[in-house]
């Protein structure tokens, strides 16, 4: 008696191949999809024999503009910000080098994301001093820092309390000049139990930037 050989149904192979294509697509997307592409974008890309991104140069002086600070929605210890009045934090920062203060900002009220401009006019000071002229160099509030090997700045962030008695520490971010570039740098501090700083944008621009270019810089938000 002849044995009947079972035949694979003709539709099995097409389904199998479509599954293989789908599986490889999912694998490719998981490892090299948009999220991965975004991470790659964060790294500077070098052209052939020529750097596209400008690093800082030793011996040069740069303005350091703390453009934006974003905080987590909880304090480092997990408590809510300003629990007394259920409001968002009043973000304030101090920039220092080797323990010496370079800049102390004013506070940005009730915000998880705060921005500062490098240019400001102290109207009160002008009125008190009777000033009638504005010195362009005096408008720039961002501190000047000369880049030397090992230059590191400390950015201390806190939730300002109006009375000054109950400031709540948000965290300290170290700005290592050797890792920064000319222009805008976005720093994403590692999540730790002692810091609630989620993101810092710091802009470094040359000390000899013209006022016109500086105004354009500020206007580009």
């Amino acid at each position: 008696m002849a044995r009947r050989v079972a035949r694979t149904p003709i539709w099995v192979w097409p389904v199998l191949l479509v599954l293989i294509a789908g599986l490889s697509g999912v694998t490719g997307w998981a490892f090299f999809g948009p999220e991965a592409a975004l991470l790659v974008q964060a790294e500077p890309i070098e052209g052939e024999g020529e750097q596209v991104v400008s690093r800082l140069e030793y011996g040069k002086t740069y303005h350091v503009w703390i453009k934006k600070i974003a905080l987590e929605d909880r304090m480092p210890d997990g408590d809510r910000w300003d629990s007394g009045n259920d409001s968002a934090p009043d973000i304030q920062f101090e920039l220092s080098r080797d323990g010496e203060r370079l800049q102390k900002s004013d506070a940005r009220k009730d915000a998880f994301v705060a921005r500062w401009d490098p240019i400001s006019i102290d109207v009160k000071d002008m009125l008190i001093n009777g000033s009638t002229q504005i010195d362009p160099a005096g408008l720039i509030q961002s501190p000047l820092v000369r880049y030397e090997p090992g230059t590191v700045l400390d950015l201390t962030v806190w939730d300002d309390d109006a009375t000054g008695l109950d400031d709540e520490h948000a965290g300290v971010v170290r700005l290592v000049f050797g890792e920064l570039f000319l222009g805008e740098n976005t720093i994403l501090p590692s999540a730790t139990g002692s810091s609630s700083v989620k993101q810092v944008e710091v802009v470094l621009f040359p000390e000899d930037l013209s006022l016109t270019e500086l105004i354009r810089l500020v206007s580009e938000r």
Binding site: W13, V18, Q41, V52, G183, R216
Partner: protein
Amino acid sequence: MTRNPAVLVRLLLIISAALLGFGLTLPCMTVVPNFGPYEDWVRLLDPSLTHASHYSVVSGIGSMFEQGAVGIGALLLGFSVIFPGVKIAIMVAAVEALRRREGPGWLMRLVHHAGKFSMLDVWVIAVLVVAAKGLPGDTEVRLGPGIYLFAGSVLCSVLSGAVMHHAEHKLLVGQVVKS
């Protein structure tokens, strides 16, 4: 169709299917903006303009739908994603039919017509690369691995089509001789 060509065709189509999935999802093109002598200033004033952009076929189609270019997006979805997958499925079904000596039938005719559109996407991306050469400030377009994998998938399906065509021809000749 004898056993060996059938095994070869199946293997080529399996490779083609795997390469298709990777080719559609891996970056096929990277646009690196460059503004020539103004590069530093642009980075200073609007750094987002200097960031490289990576595109895969799938992410590119998604962007088109998001930006309202539904027609183009649908066209690319059809010819880049759906059509190649359907073509591979039809080819493997056709080789099964050939192996069982059921004759070429409508499946093989479908495969013949489908083969004409095989290199459409590779051609589109090549045109984009050439067009990008004309952008100012030394902006560069770099081909990513996705385009090579996609082209590899197309080549494997073309090769399997050639083997199948040869086997189909032998089958037809055999049938003529018998008759």
